[in-house]
């Protein structure tokens, strides 16, 4: 082993992001999926703009969580193709570095999806962001939390029979506290909640630290055994 775990993380993140830039799965598959979901919510809620605006925080984060299932599954599946999992195991990269790299790459991809979704909702739902700082910080932290949890469960589920269906069952309950905190903070930022949204941001920080520490500690066994 040479270098630090951070250099390993940069290596892995760079690999994943280059793969995404070449394959454009997020652009070609995930963004259209997000757009379809936004339209479906509008149709299901009778295209009533006031109803959509009241529910926009929840709709935004539910859409992000569903989109993250696709991104995480894709990221884990790529690592199992063509003997890449064995290559990573034998490469000498630190497991914590591999995990951190996956988190960074997933965060970057999901942030891009979130930005596009936010613009879409501003245009279609007439969303009025009144507290952009809270919105921005919440988005970055919540997306990082989803990435941190996804980088644990993605590889865990990728080696299982029925991996296409089991990831959602495993990951969604774990993401529920993230969904709760992000939605409440967004409600405050969009002028629909009471109090300040910053305690919810604190909750997201706690969740991010928890998932990240757990991911770093379990990365070694998961890399070896799955």
């Amino acid at each position: 082993m040479s270098g630090s775990w951070w250099s390993d993380a940069v290596l892995v993140a760079g690999k994943d992001l280059r793969l995404e830039l070449r394959s454009r799965v997020a652009i070609n598959h995930v963004l259209p999926f997000v757009a379809v979901v936004v339209m479906l919510f509008g149709i299901a809620l009778d295209a009533d703009t006031s109803t959509l605006r009241r529910a926009e925080s929840g709709l935004f984060w539910v859409t992000i969580v569903f989109a993250s299932m696709l991104v995480i599954q894709r990221s884990a599946a790529v690592d199992r193709a063509d003997g890449l999992a064995d290559a990573i195991r034998l490469s000498g990269l630190r497991p914590a570095g591999v995990y951190a790299g996956k988190v960074v790459a997933l965060t970057a991809q999901l942030l891009a999806v979130a930005v596009v979704l936010a613009i879409t909702m501003v245009v279609i739902y007439g969303t009025d962001p009144s507290s952009p700082a809270l919105l921005a910080v919440t988005t970055v932290l919540a997306v990082a939390c989803i990435a941190a949890a996804g980088a644990i469960y993605g590889p865990l589920a990728a080696g299982l029979a029925g991996r296409e269906t089991v990831l959602s069952l495993l990951l969604l309950p774990v993401l529920a506290p993230v969904l709760l905190s992000a939605t409440r903070a967004f409600e405050v930022a969009l002028g629909r909640g009471v109090g300040t949204g910053w305690p919810w941001v604190g909750m997201l920080v706690m969740l991010l630290v928890t998932y990240s520490v757990l991911g770093a500690l379990t990365a070694g066994p998961l890399l070896d055994e799955t």
Binding site: I152, L156, G159, L160, A161, G162, V166, L169, L170, P173, V174, A176, P177, L180, M203, T210, L214, T218, P221, L222, D224, E225, T226
Partner: protein, 246 residues
């Protein structure tokens, strides 16, 4: 093959007697509460059930940590057994809570923080059982379920603290939260008997469940050993007497 022993028979008899005493005090001898009325009786089942569920989740998480550290089959099977029972007791918690909620709140379910996070913990345990049931090499299966068990353990304090962190409809801690408990003598006695009976019953169930899992693994090993022997015998027949190729 029998999973009982002298210890489990004694434990089973004592826990059976305590459960009977709990039911007697909870539903016959204790008085209705001045504020909660007859619905207080569900508390004698609900509170010990949720505490036992928390203990089982903690045990499963602890055994999972030990498994990842030492790769002990004992720890893996203990985690599996505790996860299974923890899921059952969490399900009972949600059921008894709903039965209490209907006459108290008018609905079986509210999106209260404690209820919601308890339901999520239940789903995480069910997910763990789902992963364990999928075909996989034992060490890989043990690693995956251990990671999931540790995640459930991490979520447990969030569930426990949720009453203080969020506005909640759920009743605050009845006995340990305040200096003067709001329960009278027979009610407190019923609750404390239940607090002993239910965990003891869970321990008895856990011992039997663990032994069943252990015996299942030994049976699988025997089956594997027999299959290997049959393959060796086939190989011996193919090469002919004294290992000479025909």
């Amino acid at each position: 093959m029998n999973t009982s022993s002298r210890g489990t028979k004694i434990l089973g008899a004592i826990s059976g007697a305590l459960v009977a005493a709990t039911l007697l005090y909870a539903f016959v001898l204790s008085k209705p509460d001045t504020e909660l009325g007859e619905t207080v009786r569900i508390m004698y089942v609900h509170v010990p059930t949720v505490i036992t569920a928390y203990l089982l989740v903690f045990l499963a998480g602890g055994a999972s940590i030990y498994y990842l550290w030492k790769r002990s089959e004992f720890a893996d099977l203990l985690a599996a057994s505790a996860t299974e029972l923890g899921a059952i007791f969490l399900g009972l918690t949600l059921l008894t809570g709903s039965l209490w909620g209907r006459p108290t709140w008018g609905v079986y379910w509210v999106w209260d923080a404690r209820l919601t996070t308890t339901a999520l913990l239940f789903l995480m345990m069910v997910g763990n059982l789902a992963v364990r049931s999928l075909p996989a090499e034992p060490r890989a299966r043990g690693t995956r379920t251990a990671v999931m068990g540790i995640m459930a353990l991490v979520l447990l304090p969030i569930v426990h603290k949720s009453v203080e962190w969020w506005n909640s409809l759920h009743q605050d801690r009845t006995v340990l939260g305040t200096a003067d408990a709001k329960l009278d003598g027979t009610q407190l006695f019923a609750l404390f008997i239940a607090m002993v009976a239910v965990p003891m019953l869970a321990t008895w169930l856990l011992m039997h469940r663990f032994r069943v899992a252990w015996l299942a693994e030994r049976a699988a090993d025997l089956g594997l050993g027999a299959a290997i022997e049959r393959r060796r015998d086939e190989g011996g027949e193919a090469t002919g007497p004294a290992g000479v190729m025909p």
